[in-house]
Symmetry: C2
Subunit: 334 residues, 2 copies
């Protein structure tokens, strides 16, 4: 189903769980597949920052990619149709979103002013019409909405059938729940902030990987003057995960997010933090000192954030050969 839309791009597949299992990738795709053994070999002791048995492992793909634009998608997401019945080219829309600026400093009531047939409305200050470079494009889902376990339990039959034909900028200073199901970003602008945290195997929490990345990323985008969009494109989310399993994974997160969100709403980064890496390390320090009091998990997470940046720099430092070029047999995902 995705073939006509993905064929011309490079795929990185991060295989979660048992590395001895074989994943069959259909013919005709340019791809790399990485399993846990590859992660361990490439990162050595720093592999500890990459989650296991959780969708958070995907961020390893961001780290080893050499592309400017990354699109990440879940395996139960398929091509959606627009109201006219036409199949939606999600990637094309994400790239449009990333190539046009964001309106981070002032709200435009007619939505994305850079879109054909739209513009800035009366009263939009002219000095702000250049907008901000867009770092992240957050796409939405038709059919199964991205609900938490309590909402899934209460509304098992709810389906998202509303196609909202809009792309919005999430304004500066406003946090949002970033879902990793249908997400694109500019790796050069924001890559090192897209760490999906410590989740799954051996960790007290799951299903907060994308949320964690979203909070960290948004604070850093706000600090660096980068934009974040949400809205189009839609994908078709085919199956709801089990609300019972999800409740187990989310349980601690439901409490912790009540502390984490005020933290992210009020955290401020020092002016000297002029790169994503510097911002991320400063944020890790704040997480350790402020959220460490909430639960020791956040101390471990803060350390993993530092390890992630070390791993990023190791794999991406200009002097080093890209890890994957020395691994012709390594296969991969995203």
């Amino acid at each position: 189903m995705w073939r006509p839309f993905f064929e011309q791009y490079h795929l990185i597949i991060v295989q979660d769980g048992d590395p001895s299992k074989k994943i069959r990738v259909p013919d005709g795709f340019d791809y790399q597949l990485y399993n846990r053994n590859d992660v361990n070999r490439i990162l050595g002791p720093k592999a500890s920052c990459i989650s296991f048995k959780d969708s958070a492992c995907r961020c390893f793909g961001y780290l080893v990619s050499k592309k400017k634009y990354i699109f990440t998608i879940d395996d139960d997401c398929f091509v959606a149709k627009d109201p006219s019945g036409k199949e939606i080219n999600a990637l094309e829309q994400h790239i449009k979103n990333l190539l046009t600026p964001s309106t981070t400093h002032f709200f435009n009531t007619l939505y994305d002013p850079y879109r054909e047939g739209a513009d800035f409305v009366r009263g939009y200050p002219f000095s702000l019409r250049e907008g901000a470079p867009t770092a992240v494009s957050h796409g939405l889902w038709l059919n199964i909405p991205d609900y938490d376990a309590p909402t899934q339990l209460v509304k098992p039959l709810e389906r998202n059938t509303r196609y909202v034909d809009a792309v919005m900028t999430v304004p500066k200073g406003t946090l949002f729940p970033m879902c990793g199901m249908n997400l694109a970003f500019d790796r050069e602008l924001i890559g090192p902030a897209m760490y999906f945290g410590l989740m799954g195997d051996g960790q007290p929490i799951g299903r907060y990987d994308d949320m964690w990345a979203g909070w960290c990323m948004k604070v850093i985008c706000d600090h660096l003057g980068l934009g974040v969009k949400t809205g189009l494109p839609y994908i078709w989310h085919s199956k709801a995960s089990s609300p019972f399993v999800n409740l187990k994974k989310e349980y601690k997160g439901i409490f912790w997010q009540e502390k984490a969100i005020p933290f992210f709403q009020s955290v401020s980064l020092p002016k000297e933090c002029s790169s994503v890496e510097k911002c991320y390390l400063a944020l890790a320090g704040e997480v350790k000192s402020k959220l460490g009091e909430v639960d020791p998990y956040f101390i471990k997470l803060a350390d993993a954030m530092v390890t992630w940046i070390e791993a990023w720099n190791m794999v991406n430092s200009p002097g080093e050969k890209p890890a994957m070029t020395s691994l012709p047999n390594a296969t991969s995902k995203k």
Copy 2:
């Protein structure tokens, strides 16, 4: 065209310009019509705060209304149709918007979570799901978009044909360009902040009446924890006003808004300001001291803001008889 939608409501018509001209109101409407003579008689010397020969005069209707919900609409706005061809009941949608809370503190990616078929997505903190009371509902326009004169000049043929099926909260801390063409608000929650300023006859500026009200209102809503929504309902905006006339009216505003917006983005109201009236008076003081340096017009405007609150209190004080009940012949609008 509006008859089936407006018939059951009370109309206040504020007649602008020459008071000796007769306005014919179709039969069957419950209405009051106020002309300039009525404004002068009711407000006495305080009538100076009500603009003449400018759409800003409409705020006199807000002041004399005794209703909880106000809907204000321009005379070139007609009933729009949704994509299925059904006529849109704009008032019904505005009232829905005002009766359901806003999501001011956190962005919900599936838009209005209080709407049927939608909810809060995964990662939306549970403590924030009560939302904030909604004070303002800002509707949009199909056909002629609300563009400023420079954009009208550059894009004379642009029409808004995109029906975006969404209602959004404008997040706390974010300003937006509020258009008075299709606007509803809860008079009890925010009425005294809906002053449309000094525009038109004898003033150096026009077409910034609704913008001014929007900036003031948003700062006060943010301070008081009230919500502002934008999006549905659409109306059909039938004719573009002349870009040449508009440029004359807007000319100074184009420069001034570059100073006014940073002012509103950074102004903060003292904690003691616990009512809209107190907030508005504090804001008038800030306007005088901070924007007075930009142009003496803002000193005059700040004084008019104070006069407006005095007029509001005079007409609306619990001890006083409502002005209009003692004026059985007075006719009226909104």
